[in-house]
């Protein structure tokens, strides 16, 4: 039962980027400065507009909040249905938080077609927010596909030397997955129609009620269609090869957004669709998915280790890190799921920060080859501090954010009734060792030693702008590491309720949810129209 109170609060941050996008279109392309600052202001406004959500969101309420339901395509019963729960709240805030930082990081590095570039960034933000708030499968699909366009251009126009190959690869990979998802969405709509007295619908809340009734042999196909689409996006091993190319070619801001937010659409989808809609199929596929996660964690780390390009190294590290998220998801424990959700945020912050750091180096040297560097600490001491923090967060050092996520996902998968096999966790934990290997080794070669390369003798330390792009990230990296309760408490009820309902479906009983949702009087439910 969704809660419709203050629904407008969600629409404001959702549409502000679109408004920004449209405004940019009306600015003369010669007005570079105006374009930059209008974009920045719109992204900041979006962030501030999303803050009330954080403060007004009620942890104790079960179901979606700030719910809106506006008719859109009546013949398909596709509606503009939006709302958020604890998980989407965190991801919405992550998105609105990361965007101003990525926009700021583009001011110096983007040298051509400013108007198109900044317009694309705002369109991208609109799409990403849309994905996280959609409660209608058709709407979700539209936002999901909308993102492909700006991202394709970001890589294809402002990217590096092999940008076209990378852009096409990114586009095709994702498209293959999403076509299957579209089929699944249409099939589910039809299923609603085939029921006695039913009609075609894309209302997520209705489909969620109907989904358990779908025959298991068909559920499996639907599950796989959704899962493939999401696993490509994550990307889960072995669907990951688009990611290193996309990252290496994308401009810094593109990488930050890609790692920071875009990949989370995949893991978000896994939870929202695969877990919420098809618990029984999940029980069949949890183990294979867990194996792929484990392989991805170790494989990603080992391949990251042998990279000579820093950005590619960080890209492969994402494959490894996202493996933890998927492992946490398929563990179907509150700890694992909470770990997965917080790890989505963590990865956005720490890998985003790593990409910003790589960008800082690239800006100065126009290369990312590790062997080109050495002893950089001497000329860039402030940068060294920031780079160290980003690295340690990624390594999963306790006290910083990465530890909370990794610990919880590993903990969850170890104790999981669903996976029922501690070896997933044990194998994955070795990824923690490898993470130290590839990151520290890279750091050693780039930052330590003597500054021998004459080209590096005169590198300047962080500019004021670069410094202030990184500081907000550091604050949250430490905050989540020291006092994760602020964030965990937002999605606790959601995670426990979801685990409870899945366990009840699969095992018949469940100890969850242990915390009770606040009772809401019936009139409020009626207003929501369900």
């Amino acid at each position: 039962m969704p809660h419709t109170d203050s629904a407008g609060l969600l629409l404001l941050p959702l549409f502000l980027p679109l408004l920004g996008f449209l405004s940019i279109l009306f600015i003369d392309r010669e007005q570079e400065k105006a374009i930059k600052y209008v974009t920045l202001i719109f992204s900041m406004l979006t962030f501030f507009a999303s803050l009330p959500l954080w403060f007004m969101f009620n942890d104790g309420l079960d179901g979606f909040q700030f719910y809106t339901n506006i008719s859109w395509i009546p013949s398909l019963d596709a509606g503009f249905r939006t709302g958020i729960d604890g998980m989407s709240l965190l991801l919405v805030l992550l998105t609105t938080f990361i965007m101003p930082i990525s926009i700021l990081s583009s001011f110096e590095s983007i040298k051509k077609k400013h108007k198109e570039y900044y317009a694309m960034l705002l369109l991208l933000e609109f799409g990403m927010l849309g994905v996280f708030v959609s409660l209608d499968t058709m709407l979700f699909y539209v936002f999901w596909e909308l993102i492909l366009i700006p991202m394709y251009f970001l890589i294809g126009i402002w990217g590096g030397k092999d940008r076209i190959y990378a852009a096409v690869k990114f586009f095709l990979y994702t498209l293959v997955g999403s076509l299957l998802m579209l089929i699944a969405i249409v099939w589910m709509g039809l299923y609603a129609k085939w029921l006695p007295g039913g009609h075609f619908t894309t209302d997520f809340l209705i489909l969620k009620q109907l989904a358990p009734g779908i025959p298991l042999d068909i559920q499996i196909w639907l599950f796989l269609a959704f899962a493939l689409s999401f696993c490509i996006k994550v990307p889960l091993f072995p669907f990951h090869t688009w990611l290193p190319d996309a990252h290496v070619q994308a401009p810094t801001a593109g990488s930050v957004i890609l790692a920071g937010v875009l990949l989370k659409m995949g893991t978000y989808g896994l939870i929202r669709f695969n877990l919420e809609l098809f618990p029984q199929s999940l029980h069949l596929f949890a183990q294979p998915l867990a194996w792929l996660s484990v392989i991805g964690i170790i494989y990603g780390a080992l391949v990251a280790m042998v990279q000579t390009d820093i950005k590619k190294l960080v890209a492969y590290s994402s494959v490894s890190h996202l493996g933890f998220v998927v492992l946490g998801i398929v563990s179907v424990t509150p700890e694992g799921l909470q770990g997965a959700i917080i790890q989505m945020v963590n990865h956005g912050l720490s890998t985003g920060m790593l990409f910003l750091c790589v960008g800082v180096l690239y800006e100065r040297r126009h290369t990312r080859e590790i062997s080109e560097f050495g002893g950089i600490t001497k000329v860039m001491p402030k940068f060294a501090v920031m780079f160290t923090i980003a690295m340690m967060a990624s390594v999963g050092l306790p006290g910083l954010n990465g530890f909370i996520g990794e610990y919880l996902t590993l903990f969850g998968s170890f104790q999981s009734k669903f996976l029922n096999n501690p070896w997933f966790s044990i194998f994955s934990a070795s990824g923690v060792i490898f993470a130290a290997v590839y990151l520290l080794w890279m750091f050693q070669r780039v930052m330590f030693g003597t500054n021998d390369n004459p080209k590096n003798h005169t590198l300047t330390d962080l500019t004021r702008s670069e410094y202030w792009q990184l500081v907000p990230l550091v604050i949250f990296i430490v905050w989540i590491g020291v006092y994760p309760k602020t964030f965990l408490s937002r999605s606790e009820l959601y995670a426990q309720t979801l685990v409870g309902s899945i366990e009840k479906t699969v095992f018949g009983t469940s100890a969850y949810p242990k915390i009770k949702a606040i009772e809401v009087d019936a009139s409020a439910v009626k207003k929501a129209g369900h």
Binding site: K169, L172, Y173, P238, H240, T241, W242, Y299, L302, V303, M305, V306, Q307, T333, P334, E335, Q338, G375, T377, K378, T388, M392, L397, P398, G399, F403, I404, Y407, L408, L410, F411, G412, F414, Q415, P422, S425, I426, A429, V432, I433, A436, L440, W441, F443, Q444, M447, F448, G449, N451, V482, Y483, P484, K485, L488, S489, E492, A495, Q496, V499, K514
Partner: protein, 652 residues
């Protein structure tokens, strides 16, 4: 007073932030060093106050749990930032903050003029904060935070002089040594991580008190408890540099010498002993683990001691000595002599910190020279360093009544009593080597002819900020042993203060062990005999070193030439680093590069992706030709289509 325990870690943390943020702007070494020292010194004073309070309480009532705030609360997990003040943690706290303060003060002199002076003290304060969390935690996860946190500080401080080179196997820069330390420790941490999951799986909690009480009262399945304790022990072998993960410690000497004293001798490396002492009940429940600990301890003690004999880097000798002494502590833990282990942690902290700081004073006075073959005759140039170093050397050699004698002898006694005569013999052998290499070090450094270049090196005594800490540690090294006087030497009076103090902590573990092993009969005559034996052997070691090294001679070289194979084995540290590199590091790297990335990622996966894209393109290219724009062809195709459909409808 105990509720003020949060101040103890908080003060160094504040120091870290002040120096970290404003250190560069202060432009004043004395002020920076003063703030850092005051932060740790203040923590020491608070700890002393709390210790006084505990003294006034009944022994069973000395445990205080102070909860600060919730940390990881989700699902079934509820982990708090909470401290456990008790006899064990306060003792460790006193050692950490007490010796920490001395080393901070010493560092003001030692690091004088270093361009990164503030950074050094910021790291040092951060280390103390992390170390205190490690020992004060009331649960495994918070200890793990400290555990990895000290690893971070160790990493940062080993690589402190990041642009300097350092000699080691596959090591070029100090940063390589730092990285090695962190990664090797991570392997151990992996064990701790899995152990925590198993513990929660069995006990449903990660609080020390809950877990150990449950284990004592309910008992645990033998296989499970062995797995848990062995995994925890894996972590200990990392942090406390035991076989098989001990390889990082000698290379950790790349860091500034005060770091070696504080982190890599007195405190951090004893974290492994702490973890086992903290969970003595769990460990006592597994015979297998206890045996493994004993085995690893004695093997490490012997191997490290033998390697120490031939090293020429003053700090590396001390590093191998540390590894060897830590081995002694593990022997104690393995035979259930928990108090003896903690006792040796304490005395070792005194004399090893002293020896490292002394070596730092030497290095300082010798303009960064560390090779003892290029020293000699220094005692007339640096008399205070010499005397204090001598006192430390006697203490570590285990000569009565210096501190090392009491703690080492207690370990050997229990090795005999609860272990076996062979274990005792091996321990005594390690003690013999210890006495030998320490006096070799002393003689080569301070006695004999001056082998340094008088034109370039002008040895001088260090300033008072450095010598005063030396003297304080020297006094502790001389008298510190009196805290644990055994019955055999007290004429029957029961004045082993440390044993009484720690008794409630190890009570459960001792009961479990007594139940399974039975009490061993104490015989005073036997204890005296063994004591005399080990003392005599230590003296033999000293005399042997004296004959070889006190006066410069060619005897050592001749000895080495005669036993070429053995010498080469020791000189190359049993080739452990080389073996690890050839068996683990190289193959993993090659496999990842050649098989995983170049073949699987690029050829297989991308091959399939690009291949299918290409085949679709080829296919599209061929059917594109159908759209030729020639109307006749379209008509023909339509005809074929119609015929086809009719045929299907008729036949199907």
């Amino acid at each position: 007073m105990a509720e003020l325990i949060y101040l103890v870690p908080l003060l160094p943390l504040i120091g870290f932030f002040i120096i970290g943020f404003f250190g560069k702007k202060l432009h004043n070494e004395k002020l920076i060093g003063g703030i850092a020292s005051a932060a740790v010194g203040g923590a020491f004073l608070v700890a002393v106050g709390i210790f006084m309070q505990l003294l006034g309480e009944a022994p069973e009532a000395r445990t205080h749990i102070i909860r600060l705030f919730p940390w990881i609360h989700t699902g079934a997990l509820s982990i708090d930032i909470a401290y456990q003040v008790d006899q064990l943690s306060i003792l460790y706290t006193l050692i950490i903050t007490g010796i920490g303060t001395l080393i901070h003060i010493y560092s003001i002199g030692y690091m004088h003029g270093d361009k990164s002076f503030p950074r050094f003290f910021a790291y040092l304060n951060l280390f103390v904060f992390m170390m205190l969390n490690l020992v004060l935690a009331n649960n495994f996860v918070l200890t793990f935070l400290g555990w990895e946190g000290v690893g971070l500080c160790s990493y940062l401080l080993i690589g402190f002089w990041y642009d300097r080179t350092f000699e080691g196997s596959h090591i070029v820069w100090t940063g390589d040594a730092a990285k090695k330390a962190f990664i090797v420790n991570r392997i151990g941490d992996f064990g701790v991580l899995i152990a925590m999951f198993l513990i929660f799986w069995r006990f449903g909690s990660l609080d020390y008190a809950t877990v150990n009480t449950m284990a004592a009262t309910q008992g645990v399945d033998a296989g499970l408890i062995t797995a848990i304790t062995l995994l925890l022990f894996l972590g200990c072998t990392g942090k406390s540099a035991q076989i098989p993960l001990g390889v990082w410690l000698p290379d950790a000497m790349a860091g500034p010498t005060p770091v070696s004293a504080l982190i890599h001798a007195a405190t951090m490396v004893t974290a492994g002993i702490f973890l086992i002492a903290r969970n003595s009940t769990l460990f006592a429940l597994s015979h297998t683990t206890m045996a493994v600990i004993t085995g690893v301890g004695i093997t490490t003690a012997l191997i490290a001691a033998t390697v120490g004999i031939v090293q020429n880097d003053i700090k590396k000798v001390l590093a191998y000595s540390t590894v060897s002494q830590l081995g002694f502590m593990f022997i104690a833990l393995g035979v259930g002599a928990y108090t003896a282990a903690v006792f040796h942690v304490m005395t070792h902290a005194f004399f090893k910190a002293l020896l490292f700081l002394g070596s730092g004073s030497v290095i300082h006075g010798m303009h960064e020279e560390q090779d003892i073959q290029k020293m000699g005759g220094l005692k007339k140039y640096m008399p205070q360093t010499y005397i204090t170093f001598l006192l430390g050397t006697i203490a570590i050699a285990g000569i009565f009544p210096f501190a090392g004698f009491f703690s080492k002898d207690e370990i050997l006694w229990y090795a005999f009593l609860n272990g076996s005569p062979i274990l005792w013999g091996a321990g005594v052998l390690a003690a013999l080597f210890t006495a030998f290499y320490m006096f070799r070090l002393l003689y080569l450094t301070f006695h004999g002819e001056e082998r340094f270049d008088h034109h370039h090196v002008h040895p001088h005594e260090s300033p008072a900020t450095m010598t005063i800490p030396l003297w304080i540690l020297a006094i502790l090294s001389v008298f510190g042993g009196f805290l644990g006087i055994p019955k055999a030497l007290s004429f029957g009076a029961d004045i082993n203060l440390l044993e009484h103090w720690l008794h409630p902590i190890f009570h459960d573990a001792h009961e479990i062990l007594a139940k399974s092993h039975g009490e061993h009969a104490h015989s005073l005559e036997l204890e005296w005999g063994l004591m005399a034996g080990s003392l005599g052997i230590a003296v033999i070691g000293i005399l042997f070193a004296t004959s070889l090294y006190k006066k410069s001679s060619s005897k050592p070289d001749e000895l080495a030439a005669k036993n070429k194979g053995l010498y080469s084995l020791l000189w190359n540290k049993y080739w452990v680093d080389e073996i690890y590199h050839a068996v683990i590091v190289r193959p993993t790297y090659t496999m990842s590069l050649e098989a995983l990335w170049k073949i699987f990622d690029i050829k297989v996966i991308d091959g399939i992706v690009n291949g299918s894209a290409r085949s679709i393109a080829t296919w599209a290219e061929s059917i594109r030709k159908i759209q030729s724009g020639i109307a006749q062809n379209y008509a023909l195709l339509m005809m074929i289509g119609i015929v086809g459909i009719i045929a299907w409808m008729v036949l199907g």
